[in-house]
């Protein structure tokens, strides 16, 4: 049982115009590393980085800007590269930053952010399970939704879709013939 | 003030036995016309010693049917109907009109399954009878088979000494209260054996919880009885009820009866009732059989009529517990009003003692069921905390109050 500490003092409402400030701060700190940065709509900032800068950006977001809530980690298979999208949200001002981290196709590894946000634990396991991206530094990277001995990563584009796929026997799914 | 319908159960059974033997003897003497030795058989059957033995058998059968058939069915029906009405639904509705044979299948244009629901429990019992009695392969077979028998037989043992009126009893013992409490306390033993012998983690946990809970609540039970004995001076239930069969305060022919619940023993009454509800393993104290966590608790591995026995005897223990509370605190079978008409010296009961007793017991069961189905379940460590840390000091207080008021002559 965790002891009941003091909950943070929150306004509960979004601060208008904050997204431009946040984008400006990110751009000023990570000038060249930001491959793409824009304000999509009020309360949503989108940036794209390479996978090596992930921990730096995330640490800055969490420690300096107060983005304490990791909402989601998405793994995308773009056929020529992978992408790991992080939606981080700020409870103090209601802003969300969408971080696209690009991963080369033949080396699907990226650093894990579980040390910053424990919420990443299950999301990264799911991304590994369904897409096959390895999160280095994850405390326990094993399959979460599929059975432990499943051989494939089904969300990849080279795993046949249901309309293209005839019945696959269980033996074949486990890697046999 | 009130008079039993059956002044002497033994005599009534004796008359019944004599009648049965007489009918059987008619047949035997008819055969004896052809084969002479049968006449000796008829004479032997009609002799006093045989009649006495047969009377005891008939007596025990009648008491068994009365308790474990009629009363059990009625209380089960009361509970199921009552709590389903609490839950805003109709409840069990299978009655005689659902039977598929004449004369009950004449209701062609009216609903057949919308009756009072009394036969539902009979139907459930028959369903359980025709199910397979499975024994888990890795269970301790001897203990597994013995424990339902143990629980059932010790519960029925209570009714040997528990009278239903001043004439309707099996045995009149001097220390009947002690005997009843002892038979009541056999249950944790049987439950623990049942839970352990099934070789299942969950039933073992349920059995141990049951043993801990029942043991913890025996103590306030007995302490309250001790407090009561200061007032009654005897452990004989007949004497206890006889002492309550008078008026405390009279307004003409009506008045407040001298039941022990209206005396300083009220605290003992409350403690005794709470402890008894815990002994009966009803919600809020039904952690041993907690459906939420342990499926059926210690009875999980039982199937068929073994389960039926164990399941049904929970209600029988409820009847025994309610009967005990009634006898000790609520005046037993003495009715304060509408008691008797004396016509020419013969007392004719309007509401005889048996009816009073049944009314009180069934009403108490209704109250227990009402509470049961309105509150959530208490956790096992909280149950034990209540038992050891709250009920025992209060029952000690009840003893002090009882002894004190008696010594000071206030009561």
């Amino acid at each position: 049982m965790s002891p009941a500490g003091r909950p943070p003092e929150l306004q509960g409402r979004a601060v208008p115009g904050i997204e431009h400030e946040i984008l400006a701060q990110l751009q000023s700190l990570f000038k060249a590393k930001l491959l793409d940065g824009r304000v999509v709509r009020p309360r949503l900032v989108e940036i794209a980085i390479d996978r090596s800068d992930l921990l730096a950006v995330c640490t800055f977001l969490r420690e300096a800007l107060g983005f304490e809530h990791l909402a989601c980690i998405t793994a995308i298979d773009w056929r020529d590269r992978f992408e790991s999208v992080y939606h981080v949200s700020n409870y103090y001002n209601g802003c969300v930053v969408q971080v696209h981290a690009r991963i080369p196709y033949d080396d699907p590894k990226i650093a894990s952010v579980t040390k910053l946000w424990n919420a990443a634990n299950y999301h990264e396991r799911e991304a590994w399970d369904l897409m096959g991206i390895v999160y280095e530094g994850h405390p326990n990277l094993e399959r979460i939704l599929l059975p432990a001995d499943f051989k494939f990563h089904p969300l990849r584009k080279d795993f046949a879709q249901e309309v293209d796929r005839q019945y696959i026997s269980r033996r074949k799914l486990k890697g046999g013939k | 003030m009130s008079v039993p319908l059956v002044p002497s159960f033994f005599e009534s059974c004796r008359i019944l036995t004599v009648a049965i033997v007489w009918v059987v003897n008619l047949i035997i003497r008819a055969i004896g016309v052809v084969i002479p030795p049968f006449n000796d058989l008829a004479d032997w059957l009609a002799s006093d010693s045989v009649i006495t033995v047969l009377t005891w058998l008939v007596l025990m059968t009648v008491m068994l049917v009365w308790t474990a058939l009629f009363n059990l069915l009625t209380v089960m029906w009361i509970e199921r109907k009552f709590y389903s009405r609490l839950q805003d639904r109709y409840g069990i509705m299978v009655s005689v009109w659902s039977l598929p044979f004449w004369p009950f299948n004449r209701r062609k244009d009216r609903p057949t399954h919308k009756g009072w629901g009394y036969l539902q429990n009979v139907a459930d019992g028959m369903k359980l009878l025709q199910k397979e009695n499975l024994t888990p392969a890795s269970a301790d077979a001897a203990m597994f088979h013995i424990s339902p028998v143990l629980i059932a037989s010790t519960t029925l043992l209570i009714f040997v000494a528990l009278p239903w009126s001043s004439g309707f009893y099996v045995a009149k013992l001097d220390l009947s209260l002690l005997f009843i409490l002892a038979a009541f306390s056999f249950a944790p033993f049987g439950i623990l054996i049942a839970g352990w012998s099934a070789n299942n983690k969950y039933t073992l946990v349920g059995g141990m919880r049951a043993a801990a809970q029942l043991m913890a609540y025996e103590i306030p039970l007995i302490l309250c009885v001790i407090a009561l004995v200061f007032f009654t001076g005897t452990l004989d239930v007949f004497a206890i009820v006889a002492q309550q069969d008078r008026h405390l305060v009279s307004f003409g022919s009506l008045g407040i009866p001298a039941w022990y619940v209206f005396s300083p023993q009220i605290l003992g009454f409350l403690i005794f009732t709470v402890a008894m509800v815990a002994e009966m393993e009803r919600i809020p104290f039904d952690i041993p059989e907690a459906e939420a966590e342990l499926v059926e608790g210690w009875t999980t591995e039982y199937s068929g009529m073994r389960f039926g026995l164990v399941f049904g005897f929970k209600w029988l223990r409820m009847i025994a517990g309610a009967a005990l509370i009634t006898i000790l605190y609520l005046g037993g079978w003495s009715g304060p009003v509408f008691a008797t008409i004396y016509i020419g010296g013969i007392a004719i009961p309007i509401l005889p003692e048996e009816i009073w007793f049944l009314l009180k017991v069934w009403l108490l069961c209704v109250v227990i069921v009402w509470v049961s189905w309105s509150v959530p379940r208490v956790r096992i460590d909280q149950i034990l905390k209540i038992g050891w840390r709250r009920l025992i000091p209060f029952s000690l207080l009840a003893i002090i109050v009882g002894a004190g008021t008696r010594a000071l002559g206030w009561y």
């Binding site: 965790s2 409402r13 809530h69 939606h87 | 609490l86």
Partner: protein, 358 residues
């Protein structure tokens, strides 16, 4: 010790491995995935609108909220603006579905603690709202009601009258339930101080929704990140005020009071709705881009991230389920409690396995 996957009182199909020392829990490890249906993969094969049938069944107890979140994400990707009446109708549908979902939770939570009467009473009240939803959309569950660009049909004529009557009746009954639960000593004994999680832990592990508000954190996505017409509605997010939040009782109270708030929102929405305005626009067939929407689902933050590549089907759909993250936080809530409390704690976080396992 295994609790589940076949267990009468863990609602849904999942397993909890609990390490016990006597009666006290030392560690817990949830095992999920028994209901994994491969949603994200199969949603890539169907057109945008046809996926609403699937998203309904993600959490079948509160289906409109999930389909609405998906439609919102697709609309943001396409840049489609829902007309005002459509937005108001969506708000009404969402709040009715929220009440129905919370009543289902209450119906499951009472028996967890041993209070079997709560099951029947809550389901009886839920019938009122299922009838309203049926009047509105034609089905009681899995209604296929939200559309990309609005809703499927307008509210029928007698909806407002029937809604007001049902809500008035329900609010009366809620007072009765308060007496049954809030003031019952045994209930307080079973839920207070049980399954505590601190606010910092909750935010760190991604717990959202009523579970987070019970820890005292003032976050309600309808206020913090408003969507539809929630900015024009006056309601109060139910936050636990007081020092000792984060236990099962706080979660219970927050969810219970949310039902009352939702009734108020529905009545306000029926007043403020424009009477003649379209309820639906036609979205484009093909779309490119990415859209992301997060809504306050009955259980927490439901997030959809939809990517289109110019085809009439999505390229990738990501579903973020609030229970998926709360499940990661359950070991914290369970450690140090007794074995008999497992069901009480897990019931109070309102697990719906359909959305957890996708």
């Amino acid at each position: 010790m295994n609790m589940g996957p076949q267990h009468p009182m863990t609602h849904g199909l999942w397993n909890m491995k609990v390490k016990v020392d006597g009666e006290t829990i030392t560690d817990a490890k949830p095992e999920i995935g028994y209901l994994h249906r491969g949603y994200e993969k199969i949603m890539e094969v169907r057109e945008f609108q046809k996926n609403v049938v699937l998203t309904d069944r993600l959490c079948y107890v509160s289906s409109i909220t999930w389909s609405h979140a998906y439609c919102l994400a697709v609309e943001r990707m396409m840049g489609v603006e829902v007309p005002e009446r459509g937005q108001w109708i969506r708000v009404v549908a969402l709040e009715l579905q929220r009440i129905a979902s919370h009543l289902m939770w209450l119906a499951a939570y009472g028996p967890d603690l041993g209070l079997l009467t709560a099951l029947l009473w809550s389901l009886r009240e839920r019938e009122l709202f299922l009838d309203l939803i049926q009047l509105m959309s034609g089905a009681r569950m899995n209604q296929n009601y939200p559309r990309v660009g609005g809703v499927r049909n307008d509210l029928p004529d007698n909806f407002e009258a029937m809604c007001k009557r049902s809500i008035a009746h329900f609010l009366e009954k809620l007072d009765g339930y308060e007496k049954l639960m809030h003031e019952s000593k045994v209930f307080l004994m079973r839920t207070q101080d049980v399954g505590r999680i601190s606010a910092a832990d909750a935010i760190n592990w991604g717990v959202t929704g009523p579970n987070l508000r019970a820890c005292g954190v003032n976050v309600d996505l309808r206020r913090l990140d408003p969507y539809e017409t929630y900015e024009q509605i006056d309601f109060e997010p139910q936050i636990w005020k007081g020092a000792d939040g984060g236990d099962s009782y706080a979660r219970f109270v927050c969810r219970f009071n949310e039902m009352r708030e939702s009734c108020g929102i529905v009545l306000q929405a029926l007043e403020k709705m424009p009477k003649d305005s379209p309820f639906r626009t036609k979205p484009p067939r093909r779309a490119e881009g990415d859209g992301y929407a997060r809504t306050e689902d009955s259980r927490g933050e439901a997030l959809f991230y939809v990517i289109g590549d110019g085809d009439d089907r999505p390229y990738r759909v990501k579903i973020r389920s609030p229970i998926f993250c709360s499940m990661a936080a359950t070991p914290i809530m369970l450690r140090g409690n007794k074995l008999a409390d497992v069901v009480a704690i897990l019931g109070s976080i309102d697990v719906c396995v359909g959305e957890m396992d996708k």
